[in-house]
């Protein structure tokens, strides 16, 4: 199986004023294609830092991180941006752009990639149909419920056929019933072969994944298959 993400002795140190804070203190992790991994940990465990690194939003201080067989530390800002085109982000607060319709929000990531309009529109409609929002493609985020917004965000993340979905507390901001619906959608997507990495502090949510790693104080303390 192909390796999507591989971290070897990954370290990240922040400067908090003049005090260095070691957010990651040597993380080793390997994610294979088709995996559904939950990274579970309390706040301050370094899971968000790890998420930022895996999402190519930030660069490690030390250690090696390969995303899609590319060593992140050698990349410049432009190359990192290109790498992010191959990653599908889903955020806790949805992060849709309020002035655009659901459809255009999904189109946007394809527009950034430079795909043409007709192709974009067709794909956006398809994807919104897949996440069950066929009837609401022309609604703006403010006219959608939290669960619906998150489904738009998932559609957007899938638009460029990413190597993996990177989810940050995807149900953290929606009610539990809707959360279940979203999670069953996520599982369905994974069953179709899409690799998923999900960061959460919610034990119950993590149990939905195929595999869970625990993080405490910047290191992985356990790695088990559910």
């Amino acid at each position: 199986m192909a390796t999507v993400v591989e971290a070897v002795n990954l370290k990240k140190t922040y400067m908090l004023g003049k005090i260095p804070v070691e957010a990651l203190r040597g993380v080793n992790l390997k994610v294979e294609k088709g995996d559904f991994l939950a990274i579970l940990g309390p706040s301050g465990s370094g899971k968000s830092t790890l998420l930022n690194l895996i999402g190519a939003l930030d660069k490690p201080t030390a250690g090696k991180l390969s995303i899609d067989d590319v060593d992140v530390s050698t990349l410049n800002d432009n190359q990192l941006a290109d790498l992010r085109l191959r990653i599908g982000f889903v955020f806790q607060f949805f992060n849709l752009i309020p002035r655009f319709t659901a459809k255009y929000n999904v189109e946007l990531s394809m527009s950034i990639k430079g795909r043409n309009k007709a192709e974009r529109q067709k794909r956006a409609e398809e994807l919104l149909g897949t996440v069950g929002l066929k009837e609401r493609i022309n609604h703006k985020p403010a006219e959608l419920s939290g669960g619906q917004q998150q489904r738009v965000a998932i559609a957007r993340a899938l638009a460029n056929d990413p190597r993996f979905l990177l989810m940050d507390e995807p149900t953290g901001n929606i009610d539990s019933k809707t959360a279940e619906e979203v999670m069953s959608l996520v599982k369905k997507i994974n069953e179709k072969g899409v690799t998923i990495i999900m960061v959460t502090h919610d034990q119950r949510l993590a149990s939905e994944a195929k595999r869970t790693v625990h993080m405490i104080d910047g290191v992985i303390t356990s790695d088990m298959v559910n």
Binding site: N78, A81, D82, F91, S111, G114
Partner: protein, 433 residues
């Protein structure tokens, strides 16, 4: 991201804050409108004045006035442009009426020369109404009619070739001051010419009765040296007697051709002959002086207008910084979705280009309207003298210059905020509330 997509993205951001964008654009509109209005009026005025001057100042004539620096000199009495030219002079020897024969002999290029005595006084019509007359001009009618065969032409009555002392010829606006048919004087009317003699103490009004033998055709223009609509022409010999002087205010020299070489060599011959105590004015010299004056005026006015555009630019910068702070999170999202820093830069610059373009287009249009309104008001009110009608001129240079300037200023002032937006770190931008 493709160019049309960048454009529509930028446009969507502008549309989101319509009022703010409109006010920002208004700044550019005002700046550009001011520039376009001022420059097109100035240009129109320049064309009008040059055109009027060409009518009054024949290209094949030179005007000799006393004083060594007449073109740069101060204003004198006698009124009008001609007075201003005749007034200056730091070192000055009088020009006498009988110098004309010596001048005629100076160069084979000279056809003839004629002396002019010009004073200001009053004209009283047969109903005993009097009007100030700035130009009572003593001139040899025959020579003058020869030199200005197209303008010294009677509309009514006839110009006497062997005038008696009491004959007088008046310009069209002397007869019909408002050009509306209400005549002040007309041909064949007996009038009084009044001059305040200031060579004796106490000053005394001198008067003689004259007979209007002709009213000239309408000429237009300033009539520097040449006939003018406001001139009152009396025979030279009568002027010498009446004004008690044989000093000429100017001598007009008619040349064989309007060649630059002829003008220059003759001018030089005359100034040399008079030991640099006179100035020789040619149409070309006046035109080049005017064009210098107008380019300075244009630069000055344009510069003032540009300041308002500068203010607009600062407004754009201000609003862009606010916008970038408001949209920090949005920029974070875009970067997380894989947008490159330079695309973020383009998006912000494109917003400023759109604002600049819309502002410049509206500004040019409203500046043009403004220029026409001002020209209309000036023309109707006769603020500059009702002989002038200004037609504003929008040259391609001003048009495209204003367009480029509007967009340029917008882009320059948006450069810093756009750069700052592009440099936002995705992690921090996403965390921004």
């Amino acid at each position: 991201m493709k160019v049309p997509d960048v454009f529509s993205y930028s446009f969507s951001a502008i549309k989101l804050r319509k009022l703010r964008a409109a006010l920002t654009t208004l700044g550019v509109v005002i700046g550009i409108a001011a520039i376009v209005a001022l420059l097109s009026i100035t240009q129109g005025l320049q064309v009008t004045i040059t055109d009027q001057l060409e009518r009054g100042l024949a290209a094949d004539t030179l005007i000799i006035v006393p004083g060594s620096n007449a073109l740069g000199g101060g204003a004198g009495d006698g009124g009008g442009f001609g007075g201003g030219i005749a007034g200056g002079g730091s070192t000055s020897a009088p020009l006498y009426v009988n110098y004309t024969s010596e001048i005629d002999a100076l160069s084979p290029n000279i056809v003839t020369s004629l002396a002019i005595i010009q004073k200001s006084g009053y004209l009283q019509n047969s109903a005993n109404e009097s009007k100030r007359a700035n130009s009572i001009i003593g001139v040899n009618f025959t020579q003058y009619a020869n030199a200005y065969s197209t303008t010294f032409v009677a509309a009514s009555g006839s110009v006497p070739m062997n005038p008696s002392d009491s004959d007088v010829v008046v310009g069209a606006r002397v007869s019909d001051p408002r050009l509306n048919g209400t005549l002040f004087v007309q041909a064949d009317e007996d009038v009084s010419i009044i001059w305040t003699n200031n060579t004796i103490i106490p000053f005394a009004n001198e008067t003689y009765t004259a007979h209007i033998s002709a009213v000239l055709d309408r000429i237009g223009g300033f009539g520097v040296g040449g006939p003018s609509d406001t001139g009152i022409y009396v025979p030279l010999s009568q002027a010498e007697k009446f004004f008690g002087t044989d000093e000429a205010d100017m001598i007009i020299v008619k040349l064989k051709s309007s060649d630059a070489a002829v003008i220059n060599s003759t001018s030089k011959a005359i100034t040399d002959y008079f030991g640099n105590q006179v100035s020789v004015i040619s149409a070309t010299a006046v035109q080049s002086l005017l064009s210098t004056i107008f380019s300075t005026v244009s630069l000055f006015l344009g510069g003032i207008a540009a300041i308002s555009l500068l203010v607009a630019g600062i407004g754009i910068m201000n609003i862009m910084i606010v916008s970038l702070i408001e949209r920090t999170r949005e920029i974070g999202i875009l970067k997380a979705l894989g947008m490159k820093s330079r695309t973020v830069l383009y998006i912000f610059l494109t917003e400023s280009i759109i604002i600049g373009l819309i502002g410049a287009v509206i500004g040019i249009a409203s500046g043009w309207v403004l220029a026409n309104v001002v020209a209309l008001v000036l023309g109707r009110g006769g603020l500059i003298g009702s002989a002038l009608t200004i037609t504003p001129i929008l040259t391609p240079e001003v048009l495209f210059g204003a367009l480029g300037f509007g967009i340029g200023v917008s882009v320059i002032f948006a450069a810093y905020p756009a750069w700052r937006a592009s440099k936002l770190k995705p992690v921090e931008a996403l965390r921004y509330e």
